[in-house]
Amino acid sequence: MSSRSAKSSREPRDTDVDVVVIGGGVNGSGVARDAAMRGMRVALFERNDLAFGASGNSSGMIHGGVRYLETDPSVTEASCRDSGHIQSIAPHLLFRIPFIFPVENRRYANVLFTLIDAYFEAYDRYQPLKHGKKHARLTPEELKHLEPGLRGDIVGGVSFDEWGIDGARLCVANAVDAVEHGARVFLGTTVEKIERDEDGAVVAVRYRDLHTGDGGRLTTAAVVNASGAWAPITAALGGLAPKKARVRPGKGIHIQYDRRLTNYAISARTIDGRQIFIEPWQNMSVIGTTDDDFYGDLDQVVANGEEVRYLTQAIARVFPAILQARAIGTTAGVRPTLYRYGPTEDALSRDHEVVDHAKHGASGLYSMLGGKLASYRLFSEAMTDELCRFFGNDARCRTHKSPLPGGDAIVDPFALAQQNELDAVTSRRLVYRHGSRSERIIDRIRRHPKEAALVCPCEPVMEAEVRHVVRHEMARTVNDVARRTRLGLGSCGGMRCAARCGQIVAEERGLSPRDGVAQALTFLHRHAQSRSAALGPEQARQEALGIAAMRSELGVRSLMDADPRELAARRSSVSVAEQAPPSRPSSPDLEPLSVKSPAVEEREQSPT
């Protein structure tokens, strides 16, 4: 960790850290990890939570970008290549999503079909890079056999292969690994100013904890602006004109359904001719996505009813059952696409670019613009290479070889379930999220068998996992736990688990139980708002019941009066290594009576 190379080309400076990374998305945490692995002292600031923005609200695919083959074949190749690397460093986080692309009968449909076939043949060249299968040409009958729910006048189709991933887990894995390599991560902490000396070089950042209001200053030699769609705002904090780090923010939304409606992802065409899809994603189906220029508040991005209808209408043309399906949530994020004035959103390049602001008179300040989930590692590598040149550090990038936390060994979830008397589904989901680190959570359960209790029965999430993500993955609130474990994001909408999760988070963090209840309410309310854009007829009824249940259990009114700031995290800096587990409050009670272990004895004596 401390094998910091001498800065040959720079004056050695006495700074608190070498690099400050602003932004806890996949690029920010990717750079923090890479830089920390190459021996730099890193601090990462994130004003909300890891994966709060586009990274946690993406389509959940590290696809090769077949869409970009036409305009940006280099993006397609880079995406495919890096998709292969991500598979080797985090095998537990990936799952195969086979796609079918039906071709509608319209003018020149057969010519079009042949062209599409040829197009995917071109895409096949990149498939080996990401261990994907080649495309297949399918007849209408074959398509209907694969997906009986397909409708419409179809002349045929092709299948191709992509990989799904949980973007939030990918971010968290990168951030945790960065911390384990010595980085410091400040969540819920915003950078208010990037200070520069008289020569324009970066000297420090001023930051403020959004919950406590405490400010601080950290001296540094370099600042990486990895704040995605926030990039121009962040650049302005360093005294640069916002357009020096200009992006074209494109809002995209997804709708999640309560189960896997199809086994294949299916492409569909929107009313304005865009390609969208319905994909089976873990235990849900997801449809997406829109791409609209966004001019609003980046901290308050939500899907609205118009966007939902635009998507469902298009999917319903090929898969009408979507209209009867039960939507359980929507997600929304804003892509930081490279700036160009004029082209439609879809025609914009998905390429990425590292901007060295030395050319704008701010040496040591860098902006990461553009990019996509699939190429985050490559982008982070390019950024860190730049930092290495800046510091004269000759360490090589290892992020494509060194496994992410949990990715070092393959764990068999079913064996794990048998050995530890867990439910097979619980075990499978646990291993998906944590890979080999599931063992650490199982260890907790061995020490405290009570923690095997399910907090969220939908996902499912055990109590031990909630405690683990609070202690070791920097979760501070119920919202953070949900982002890391999908707790409460399933079909019950958190009605059964949010309050319990709040209690656990409050206990782990030494907050009062009332804070836990308040956190639960905040989560429930935000999640309900995201869901209500997509409500169908039966769901409106369930939603009314949900509102009534919440009024009765927790009181909706008190939620509205609560200050959201108060509900945010209290501690600004979290470091996995130094995060001491808070002592569990000792029980005031003694074991009464003759029964030693009531539950065990009851089961033994049981007449049933």
Binding site: R309, I504, R514, Q529, A540, A544, E553, V556, P607
Partner: protein, 428 residues
């Protein structure tokens, strides 16, 4: 001459109306389409929404006293035999939700523990049981820090108590476990376990003034009073979750009361209501049975009960706005009444009149993303929509009671009151 009344809905409002009408000697037909909000009750009995009550008491700086209830509401409650209602001018009951929130209530299902009846400064024992979703330690911690519990100096203590008897009881549902306490032998056994704990505590000079159990004390009838009498200190439940035993106890008490009133419910879905020569004729599916009556009373519940339906037109495959759904909110049966919303809660008693609803401006329905959920004082669209009423009248020959009415608080006692009022209006 004996009047005939058709009551649509077997929830609390419909039951109160049926009881009120039979008291007056009317002939009652009650049509019940299945479980609604009343069958999903938490067991708390409110007159005013409790968060409104709490806000008022905070503003006044003193606890709110129970208001007087009309004679006939008390009469109905006594006939039902399910609730304990706080006497007028008395201190409000304090009940505990499953999430560990202490809140005031005008009354409660008799199985629910009322913290106001625990001596001030007392200790409430929360039994540690191996049941999913029941964590006595965090419950005790949460409750001990609750401001309303602290006001009374109450301490909550998690304690190992043997209360589960059979091996399957760690995982069976709340209602199933509650049903086991309908048996007297089981209650005797449980009271022995609780008494032992009490003796143990007292032998160590520790306090134990009440037991707070999960929603497990009776599925057919509330059994907490019997337990309390056997143990000698109050024993009671937390409020039920949605679909918990409080709802099944209501259904059992309802069926018993209807039997005593000699009302035989018609099981089925009311689909059409038509006025003919001063009488109203109701068609019930399946079967197409026709029921004629002098008056009809809609106690069909809001969206939860299914009496109101949200039907966004854009959901239709053929992409043509269907003729039957000109407005996204409609009744589950066709009848000549109008819908309305009320935008404010809390002030509903003497607040703005409900706003009548017409066809919405968008073919795609209203913007639920901004209107579905409550925001501050403003009620959410999903809970404020109902039938526009003038008093209890919605149309000639048609009265409305309970959650189906727009612009009224959706509480149990409000449903009772409006049910009784609608029954009375039906005979006049």
């Amino acid at each position: 001459m004996i009047a005939t009344v058709t009551i649509i809905g077997g929830g609390i409002a419909g039951l109160a109306a049926a009881w009120g009408a039979t008291q007056r000697g009317d002939k009652v037909n009650l049509v019940d389409g299945g479980a609604g909000a009343s069958a999903l009750t938490s067991g708390a009995v409110d007159e005013t929404p409790w968060d409104t009550l709490l806000a008022a008491s905070m503003q006044l700086g003193e606890p709110i006293r129970a208001a007087e209830l009309p004679e006939e509401v008390l009469g109905f409650s006594a006939a039902l035999g399910l609730w304990h209602l706080v006497p007028a001018e008395g201190e409000m009951a304090l009940v505990v939700s499953g999430a560990g929130v202490v809140r005031p209530a005008r009354g409660h299902d008799r199985a629910i523990l009322d913290l106001a009846r625990v001596p001030i400064g007392g200790t409430v024992i929360v039994p540690r049981l191996e049941r999913a979703g029941w964590d006595a330690d965090s419950m005790a911690r949460t409750l001990s820090s609750d401001p309303r519990a602290r006001d009374r100096g109450l301490t909550f203590e998690a304690s190992s108590v043997t209360a589960l008897r059979f091996a399957d009881e760690w995982r069976i549902g709340d209602v199933d476990l509650a049903a086991r306490h309908d048996e007297e032998a089981r209650r005797v056994w449980l009271s022995e376990q609780l008494t032992q704990t009490l003796r143990f505590k007292r032998s160590r000079h520790r306090k134990a003034d009440a037991f707070l159990m999960g929603p497990w004390l009776g599925a057919a009838a509330p059994q907490a009073e019997d337990l309390s009498a056997r143990v000698g200190v109050p024993v009671g439940e937390v409020l039920s979750p949605v679909g918990g035993p409080a709802g099944s106890r209501f259904v059992a008490a309802r069926d018993a009361l209807l039997a005593r009133c000699e009302v035989k419910p018609v099981r089925g879905k009311a689909v059409e209501l038509q006025s003919e020569h001063g009488r109203v004729v109701l068609r019930v599916e399946p079967g197409g049975q026709l029921i004629a009556a002098d008056r009809t009373l809609l106690a069909i519940g809001g969206l939860i009960g299914g009496g109101l339906v949200y039907g966004p037109p854009y959901r239709h495959e053929d992409d043509v706005p269907p003729s039957r759904q000109p407005i996204p909110f409609r009744l589950s049966l066709s009848a000549g009444v109008q819908l309305a919303t009320c935008e404010k809660t809390g002030v509903a008693w003497n607040g703005p009149a409900p706003r009548r609803m017409g066809v919405v401006g968008s073919r795609h329905g209203p913007e639920l993303d901004t209107t579905a959920w409550p925001h501050g004082d403003v009620m959410g669209g999903l809970e404020s929509v109902g039938i526009a009423c003038d008093g209890v009248w919605a149309a000639p020959g048609i009265t409305v009671a309970g959650d189906a009415r727009a612009g009224r608080p959706r509480t149990v006692l409000e449903a009772v009151r409006s049910g009784l009022a609608a029954a009375e209006a039906s005979v006049s």
